[in-house]
Amino acid sequence: MTEALLLKELTRTFGTRRAVDRLNLRVEAGDCYGFLGPNGAGKTTTLRMILGLVRPSEGEIIVFGERHPIARRHHLGAVIEHADFHSFLSGRANLEVLAAYDHGVKAADIDRALERVGLRDRQHDHYGTYSLGMKQRLGIAQALMRGPKLLLLDEPTNGLDPAGIKSMRDLIAELRHVDGLTVFLSSHLMHEVEMLCNRVGFLHRGVLLKEGDKSELLGAKAAAYHELRGASADKVRPIVDNMAGCTPVGVAPDGSLRVVFEEGIKPSTLLAACEAAGLDRVEIQTERYTLEDLFLEVTGVQADGQVG
């Protein structure tokens, strides 16, 4: 497969702080890569380095075989956080002034981009009158008008209402599947990435902790786990520790202990043990392993935002 994006030992230091630390990453053409990490993990800095807005301290960035920042941008379209435009200009005029700096972008390309994001009817309205969702769509339009092969999106659904989120998600999926774009999606919204991406990478404190095919990563944890609700993890853990074939795998955000059972061990055995220990209100809930669970486990970040 063609390599759309390749990062080699990419590092950026601000003073003594390493915002991005020897990042190695590969995105194949046609992928939708979910770049996950908590706030301040270094996701936006990485994107800005790919786009040539921030200079790397070390390392290499290759986009469709191009190393020079200007050459890289010929293949790229991007929306960084929220794309800012001039509020007193119309949506179309904003794209036109950007097109003046873009080699070969014609009026027809602007028309096509506006059509693609569904802003054709409102193209002559002032940008200042746009809703947040429309502003985000215009951001996508400016990224699309030059016909990129790789689309970099940084938190594209931030601040959108549920309808806006769904609409944006559908658009991204269409751009990948219908238009054939490679998408690099930076986000801290696990659900969004899980729905859209086929590959994921977890960045924490500038370090890529884990990356790979989403189904493979989740596949390793495919077996459902069980949450012991109705009692705190501290109270239940001694019972679990004394029970053969039952292993604790973590603690849920609400403080419940998560366990997995070996084959042949029935959850009802554990319930009986709990009742015998006086914990008669314990219930067992079977859960599916999600990207969020994997993220929390990999980054060591607790549900309350604290690092474990």
Binding site: A71, R73, F85, H103, R146
Partner: protein, 326 residues
């Protein structure tokens, strides 16, 4: 050809972003106001000049206590300079400077401040191309702001006083400056175009410093404040040192006529004059005087102007090229 079209497209893009209808209307109002001020300044200048070149008038003025200016020796020039240069001209120039500084600061740092620069730099464009187009738009805008009031002044003066008749020769040219006749329109226009050119050139250090300050502070407002404070400081230093120098010279002239030791005030005038020579305002005036054929040393003025402009542009470009867009 393709490169030229591309440059034009970028210039047009910058114009569309910053030179809005409201700003255009503001410039037209400003042109009217400064045009009127210029006419008033010119009329004042010419009345003073005419009176002082008239021996009877000079004698009459001397009777009323103007003898210390030694009007005959100074050719009456001193009084007109006292009125025209430090008072009318700086105020009029301030009106030119404020919108120019504001637009320059907007051009260079508005996008940096509101985050839209990142969106612009996602295109395959080199940063120096962006800053060059911004610089060219600032220079062209300055030319419009400078040219409009001067040409407005000319248009206002023509129906009021005429070009080749009338008592007060408002439209005065290089050749006719010391005379009391009116000037033909061709000479007048030539003189005005020369004035516009040196005025524009004299504002380039202000434009380049405004660009530098706004880029350093990443804020158009801070850029405007710092540039205007620097400009006012320069103006105050120039006027004060100019007046000190003049006062000292007047004293020397008085002493030369009435006795006393002129060396007593010599060093003060010298120090004041040396400081004054390096102020922007002095050099702007020097260039204007050069066009008016008043014999001021223009090469030093050119050198100071070019020096400030080149240094400011170089610093702005380096910062612009190297800065991370975060």
């Amino acid at each position: 050809m393709q490169a030229a079209l591309r440059v034009l497209a970028m210039l047009n893009a910058e114009r569309r972003k910053y030179l809005t209808r409201g700003l255009g209307l503001g410039v037209l109002i400003l042109a009217g106001v400064t045009g009127l001020l210029t006419v008033i300044g010119m009329v004042t200048f010419m009345i003073m000049r005419r009176r002082m070149s008239d021996p009877e008038c000079a004698a009459a003025m001397a009777e009323h206590g103007y003898d210390i200016f030694n009007l005959a020796d100074a050719g009456g020039y001193f009084v007109s300079v006292m009125l025209e240069v430090p008072v009318v001209s700086p105020l009029a120039r301030l009106l030119f400077v404020l919108p120019i500084v504001a637009v320059t600061c907007l051009l260079f740092s508005q996008e940096l401040a509101n985050g839209s620069l990142a969106t612009l730099l996602l295109r395959p464009v080199r940063r120096w191309e962006v800053i060059t187009s911004k610089g060219l738009v600032a220079a062209m805008y300055t030319l419009v702001v400078v040219a409009l009031p001067v040409l407005t002044a000319m248009l206002i003066a023509a129906p009021l006083f005429g070009f080749d008749s009338g008592d007060i020769p408002v439209e005065c040219t290089v050749e006719y400056l010391s005379a009391t006749e009116a000037a033909p329109i061709g000479d007048s226009l030539k003189h005005h175009l020369a004035s516009i050119s040196v005025l524009w050139f004299g504002l380039m250090p202000v434009v380049s410093l405004a660009a530098l300050f706004s880029v350093v502070f990443r804020s158009p407002i801070m850029g405007i404040i710092v540039t205007m404070l620097a400009y006012l400081l320069d103006l105050v230093v120039s006027v004060v040192t100019g007046l000190v120098g003049m006062a000292a010279n007047v004293q020397v002239m008085g002493q030369a006529q009435g006795g006393g030791d002129p060396g007593a005030v010599g060093p003060v005038a010298k120090i004041a004059h040396t400081i004054n020579q390096f102020t922007l305002h002095y050099n702007q005036t020097a260039l204007q005087n050069w066009v008016n054929d008043l014999g001021q040393d223009h090469w030093r003025a050119f050198a100071v102007m070019i020096g400030i402009t080149v240094l400011a542009i170089a610093a702005t470009t380096v910062i612009w090229q190297r800065r991370d867009i975060t």
